[in-house]
């Protein structure tokens, strides 16, 4: 799928949205924010850039070499965020959690590998809403399952057809292959995939990180052990594309009250 009248890909991994498509992205973000707030998540608004030392501490550059876009030449100290949740671990670094924490935020994210993308379903720059869970292992695991089921129900209510499947991040380095295989083996990642223009695209992912970020950012539980974490990520432009592709523009107009 390339461009429609309201979804204009600029040929460099960026897109311009207008009219119903723009409103649809906002509509989906509002729904996911509402789901998170009803669930007791604290709404956050994170900086538009992320410090290089945060991504280093998160192991991002080891797992995804060349995956993030730096600002300025040479050793950039600030980067465009490849995902939302790294901000959350940095915010909680060094804390002892009295109770599990649930957060939500959305922001524009950037994946360097998709910079030259020509299609609207794979962009360098896109909008991601995340719900993030940090706490004991079993609690994080239950939250992920609950959110996956809620998202399935939400998609069913909108008569959006898709399927939730085990997945693994596409990594590039040798260490990344190991992490990819561990993800696959332990069922740490699931994706909800929907049909868009004859392709299947992931509109949401449901992730468990075990104690990886808890250890790296020194986020501990009362028992003195590293907290587990998990997150749910929604690709907002893809939800809009899937809706328009499966139901048409008139239904989209009706949905957002155009």
């Amino acid at each position: 799928m390339t461009s429609s009248a309201d979804f204009v890909t600029l040929g460099d991994g960026r897109a311009l949205l207008r009219g119903t498509t723009a409103r649809l992205v906002r509509w989906f973000d509002d729904r996911f924010l509402q789901m998170a707030r009803e669930d007791g998540a604290v709404e956050c608004r994170f900086p538009a850039t992320i410090a290089g030392d945060v991504l280093t501490r998160a192991g991002y550059f080891d797992a995804h070499p060349g995956g993030a876009t730096g600002l300025g030449g040479g050793a950039a100290s600030y980067w465009l965020p490849p995902a939302v949740c790294y901000h959350a671990y940095a915010m909680l670094a060094g804390t002892l959690l009295g109770a599990p924490i649930k957060l939500t935020a959305s922001q524009t994210c950037f994946r360097e590998a998709d910079r030259a993308a020509l299609t609207s379903d794979r962009l360098w720059e896109f909008t991601m809403r995340e719900a993030i869970f940090i706490g004991p292992r079993d609690w994080v695991s239950r939250e992920r399952t609950r959110w996956a089921e809620r998202t399935d129900a939400f998609a069913r209510d909108l008569r959006l057809s898709g399927s939730r499947l085990p997945a693994a991040d596409p990594f590039f380095a040798a260490v990344g292959r190991g992490r990819h295989l561990i993800q696959q083996l332990k069922g740490l990642k699931e994706e909800l995939r929907m049909a868009v223009g004859g392709d299947s695209v992931a509109v949401a992912s449901f992730n468990l990180h075990e104690s990886f970020f808890g250890s790296r950012f020194d986020i501990t539980l009362q028992e003195g052990i590293a907290a587990h974490s998990g997150c749910v990520a929604f690709g907002l432009e893809r939800w809009a594309l899937a809706f328009i592709d499966q139901h048409g523009s008139a239904a989209a107009d009706a949905l957002v009250g155009a």
Binding site: G178, L185, G187
Partner: protein, 83 residues
């Protein structure tokens, strides 16, 4: 226990995990509590590939094949020259 299973168990005990605080036998769940991380999984696969002379595609690296030393040996050991 087959020769391959014995050698695999010895590799996991002595080279891969090297932990004196956990008794590891052929039925120990290898992926509980982060025993095997993203680097060790690659070492484990390399060992099995070298020992058995077969290449393990990524799609076969699933829990039903890798849960314990016994399951790895059952799944991949049949092609072992001495297993």
């Amino acid at each position: 226990m087959t020769t391959f299973q014995s050698r695999l168990l010895e590799f996991v005990r002595s080279d891969l995990l090297r932990r004196s605080d956990i008794a590891i036998d052929e039925n120990t769940y290898l992926f509980d509590d982060g025993l095997i991380d993203s680097l060790k999984i690659l070492q484990l696969i390399a060992f099995v590939e070298i020992e058995t002379g077969q290449t393990i595609p990524d799609r076969d690296v699933v829990m039903s094949n890798f849960r314990t030393v016994r399951t790895i040996a059952q799944r991949f050991g049949s092609a072992s020259p001495d297993g």
